[in-house]
Amino acid sequence: NMVLLHVLFEHASGYALFAVKEVEEIGMLLPQVEECVLSLSKFNSMVSLAAFFPFKSAQGALENMNAISEGLVHADLKLFLDTNVPRPGKKKPVVGVSDAKIGAALQEEFGMSIQTGGVVVEILRGIRLHFHALVKGLTAVAASKAQLGLGHSYSRAKVKFNVNRADNMII
């Protein structure tokens, strides 16, 4: 009875779901991931793209980022996971996410088995390192351009909607 772990990665360019090599127990993954995380070809043999949902507009990206930053499940994310996470069958689907709050929301919404921390953190570090190479048609430049555009729109909105204009903590 194998465990099929999928990992959700949220990026300025869109949502991505990665399938991790099947193992008997999730605990067996950590040393394997640690060993291969730095090499793209080795990492790719363990973690591969299952689905990608590109944001269709700057507005769409901003709405999704606002939801993600608050730990909320946007309709786009719901549809994406509904469509792409395999249904329970012989294999038990488990979804790894980076934020426990969104994990709890997904567990409630879909009744999925959610995993955070531990090996999921290491897998996400690997995905973040190799992301542009794992998604077909994406380049390092395009990935950072998406971050740049969304960074500006997210931050501009933050500053604009600070109604009382009082300063937050200085950090």
């Binding site: 930053s69 973040r128 997210y154 933050k158 950090i171």
Partner: protein, 250 residues
Amino acid sequence: GSRGGRGGFGGGRKVLVEPHRHEGVFICRGKEDALVTKNMVVGESVYGEKRMSVEEGETKIEYRAWNPFRSKLAAAILGGVDQIHIKPGAKVMYLGAASGTTVSHVSDIVGPEGLVYAVEFSHRSGRDLLNVAKKRTNIIPIIEDARHPHKYRMLVGMVDVIFADVAQPDQTRIVALNAHNFLKNGGHFVISIKANCIDSTAAPEAVFAAEVKKMSSENMKPQEQLTLEPYERDHAVVVGIYRPPPKQKK
């Protein structure tokens, strides 16, 4: 950036610019030597700093003065820090970006091939930071709380260096949280520590030692520590490596 014409270094005398030991940083030899960076946005100052241009063959290159009394990174460089790890092409996360004055020099250093993820929580400073980032497309502005890296995880890739100047009592924890998410294995951190922001009753040396100990427990290995005298009082900069590679067995 309202200043026009040539910079005022040496009263119109010719200036000579030499590369500094740290790649991407330069020294301007004039009446008085000055630390400078190569201006990404020619013709504009960010915070009223002086500019000077040098003709190299056909092309004119402009540099901006970098004041060590206004920037801890500049103070560390003039204090003789061995490594800053911020260099052309580097991807840098800058925690505590404030109005973007030092960030603009980091943007000059990393150049068009590099990136600066500039995190600042204060909305007042954030407005200035956004204006600096508008003209410098290698700065990704992030107005968000550095204590909650998951809030801005969509905006950030893996980085080579984290620079932190957050002046918070739990700043080592803040840097560690960001490192666990965004700093490459073997990447570096450069942290400015203001002793009385962490504990105003203890001796500065004791505060620095306690912070260094906290770093070690987060897989952050300090490699160098220096004080920022005479530019700042009771400040130290700690430079180190995150998740150092295991030593090769012979």
